[in-house]
Amino acid sequence: MTATTLAHSVVEPSGRSKGIAGTVIVVYAVISMVPLVWIFLTAFKSPSDSIAYPPKIVFHPTLDGTCNLFTTISRQTADYISSLPPPMNVCDRIARARNMVVAGPSNFVPRFLNSLIIAFGSTALSVVLGVTAAYAFSRFRVPAKDDLLFFILSTRMMPPIAVAIPIYLMYRELGLSDTHLGMILLYSAVNVSLAVWLLKGFIDEIPREYEEAALVDGYTRLQAFRKVVLPQATTGIVATAIFCLIFAWNEYAFATLLTSGQAQTAPPFIPIIIGEGGQDWPAVAAATTLFLVPILVFTVLLRKNLLRGITFGAVRK
C-alpha cells in the first residue's frame, strides 16, 4: 500500500484521462436528461404554453395538466357554476375558471395500478421461474442442456410483436384478453428467457463447494439452495428483476393490442389523454413524469446491487 503513495500506480488512470472521462459523462448525462427535463417542465405548463413556438423556457407554472390527468371535467353554464358551493380543491378552481366542473376522477389511477400489478407480478414470476431453472441448468445433469438453453434464448430472437396476432387470437379463446393474469403470463414468457440466462451466469459463479459444504453440514439440497445459493445470488436476482421490471413496465405494443379497459396499463393509456381541442400535452407530460417514478425508486433503492450485478463476472475475485 505504501508503494502507491510513493509512486504513481500503473493501473490508476491519470488526472487528465479522469478529466476527459468526467467531461464525457457529464455531456452524455446532459444530453439524455434534456428530454426528461422538457417533459417535467411541460407537465407544469398551460396547454397553450406547451405548444407555443418558439418553445417557452420561462413560463407561468400551473397545475392544469396534473388536474386534467387525474379528473374528468365537463362544460357547464356560468349560471350553474355560480350556483355551486365554493371550489373544494385546486382542480375544481382551475376547471371553474374555464367554465368547467370536475365530473369525477379519471382512469389514470386504475391504469397506473394495473401497470404496477402487471409489471411487478410478471417480474416476480419471471425471477422465481428464472432462478429455479437457472439453478437446475447450472447444477444438474439436464439432458440436452445446451439445446434447451439455446431454445430458451431463441424465443427472444424474433421481435415479440411478430407473434401478436396468434397471441391475440389465443388470448381471446382462452379468455385471457384484458386480464391481469393474461398480461402477467405474457410478460413473464418474454422475460423468463432473459432471467434464465442472466441468472445462470450468476449461479455458475457461485462455487459448488458452498452447497457441498452445506450438504455435508446436514442440509438437504433445497435447504442448501435457500440458505446458501439464494443469498449469494441476490445481486444477480436484483439485476435480473430490474431488467424484467423495466421491460414489463414500458411494454406498449402488446398492452395496446390486448388490453382496453379492465387490465389496461399506463403506456397505452397515456398517449390518448385528450383535452379540449386535441391532445392534452401537459396532462401527457404529467402522466409520463409520474410513470417514471416507480422504476426510478426501485432502481435507486437497489442501485448498489445493480451496478455490481451488471459488472459481475467481468472480473474474477
Binding site: 462455487p207 463447494e209 457441498e212 450438504l215 455435508v216 453440514d217 446436514g218 435447504q223 449469494q232
Partner: protein, 343 residues
C-alpha cells in the same frame, strides 16, 4: 468418532479411473493421510466418504453400518475443503454456527452459542466472530473452515489439502494446530495432501495413492525407510531420493535383478577422493545455513547429498561416494531386497 471401512470401492469419471478397488480401514482415532500427486484419486476418496460422490462398486461402512447409499446430510462427517468454502454472506459466528443450525439437528440457540464460543476460543477466533467471513486473512479463513468442522464432533473429519493455500509459516503453525486438535479431541481424521511434510509430521499412518490405487499403507517411518517401489520412494524426502543406474557403482553388491539404486540424501557419505570406489565431481553447493546440499556428478548422473556446511569441499573437487542403506529397484520400479525375493 468412528472407524470407516472401504470395501473394494471404485469410482470412474468418463475416461479416468479415479479410485480403483480401494480397500482401506481408517481406524478409530487415527490421523490417516492419503498422499499422492494431483489426479491420484485422493479428493474423490474423501468425497466418496462424504457422500458427495457415489461409488460405482464396493461398499463403505462407518461404525459397521453400511453408508454406501446414504445422503451426505445423514452421514455425520465433516469436510474441510481446499478452498475453505466459507459462506461469504455470513459472519464468522454464523459460519461456525451453520452446521449446528441445520434443520435436521434442531439444537437450541444457547447451546449453539456455547459450542461456537468454545471452538472460537480453541482456534483463537474470539475477536473475529462478528467479522464477515470474507474479511479475514487466509490463515483465519482456514481456521474458520476447520472450526466449522469441529463444532459438530462428527464421526470422521475429512480434510482436502486444507493447508495448501497458506504461506509456509502459517502452514507450519497449522500443522501443529491440527495435530494438537487430533490429540485433544481424539478425532478420526482422513486427510488428503500432496505435501510430504504434512504427511510425515501429522500422520498416524500414510496411504500412498497412485492412479486411484492404494500402493502402500504404513507408518510414516515405514513408508520413508521401506518403500515398496520407486514411486513411493520418490514421494517422500526432500530433496528427492537419488536414483542411479546400477552400472555406476560396479563395486556395490546388489541383489539379483536390481537395475536402479536409490539412496536418500542423508545416506550418501562424501569423502575427498584419493582412491575411492565411485568417483564424482562436485558441481554445485547449495548453502542452506544449517546444512548444505552438495550436487555431485557421477558420470552423467546428478547425486544430491547432505553435507556439513563447514566441510572442506569446493566446486570442482573430486569426491568418493559411499552409500548407507541403499534401496534397490528392478526394471519395473519394484523394490528388490538383498537375500532373496520379497521381504
Amino acid at each position: 468418532m468412528a472407524e470407516v471401512v472401504f470395501e473394494g470401492v471404485s469410482k470412474r469419471f468418463a475416461r479416468t479411473q479415479a479410485v480403483a478397488d480401494l480397500s482401506l480401514t481408517v481406524r478409530d482415532g487415527e490421523f490417516l493421510v492419503l498422499l499422492g500427486p494431483t489426479g491420484a484419486g485422493k479428493t474423490t476418496t474423501l468425497r466418496l466418504v462424504a457422500g458427495l460422490e457415489a461409488p460405482d462398486a464396493g461398499r463403505l461402512r462407518m461404525e459397521g453400518r453400511d453408508i454406501t447409499g446414504e445422503p451426505p446430510s445423514t452421514r455425520d462427517v465433516a469436510f474441510v475443503f481446499q478452498q475453505y468454502s466459507l459462506y461469504p454472506h455470513l459472519s464468522v459466528y454464523d459460519n461456525l454456527a451453520f452446521p449446528l443450525r441445520s434443520p435436521a439437528r434442531r439444537i437450541p440457540e444457547d447451546q449453539v452459542r456455547a459450542r461456537v464460543t468454545e471452538i472460537a476460543r480453541l482456534l483463537h477466533l474470539q475477536e473475529k466472530l462478528d467479522n464477515r467471513a470474507t474479511r479475514l486473512s487466509g490463515g483465519q479463513m482456514q481456521r474458520v473452515a476447520i472450526g466449522r468442522a469441529l463444532v459438530r464432533r462428527p464421526a470422521i473429519f475429512l480434510m482436502d489439502e486444507p493447508l495448501s493455500s497458506l504461506d509456509a509459516k502459517l502452514r507450519a503453525e497449522m500443522r501443529v494446530e491440527l495435530k494438537r486438535i487430533h490429540r485433544e479431541l481424539g478425532a478420526t481424521i482422513l486427510y488428503v495432501t500432496h505435501d510430504q511434510t504434512e504427511a510425515m509430521t501429522m500422520a498416524t499412518r500414510i496411504g500412498v495413492l497412485e492412479h486411484g490405487r492404494l500402493v502402500q499403507l504404513g507408518s510414516p517411518r515405514e513408508i520413508y525407510e521401506d518403500p515398496i517401489n520407486i514411486h513411493v520412494a520418490t514421494r517422500l524426502g526432500s530433496p528427492s531420493v537419488n536414483l542411479m543406474p546400477r552400472q555406476l557403482f560396479p563395486s556395490v553388491r546388489v541383489p539379483e535383478g536390481a537395475v536402479t539404486i536409490g539412496v536418500r540424501t542423508e545416506h550418501v557419505r562424501i569423502r575427498k577422493s584419493a582412491n575411492g570406489a565411485a568417483v564424482g565431481r562436485v558441481r554445485w553447493i547449495e548453502h542452506l545455513g544449517d546444512q548444505s546440499h552438495l550436487h555431485v556428478t557421477v558420470a552423467d548422473t546428478d547425486v544430491i547429498t547432505l553435507a556439513d556446511p563447514h566441510a572442506d569441499l569446493a566446486v570442482g573437487d573430486e569426491v568418493a561416494i559411499e552409500m548407507v542403506a541403499p534401496l534397490f529397484f528392478d526394471a519395473s520400479g519394484e523394490r528388490v531386497r538383498p537375500g532373496g525375493n520379497g521381504r
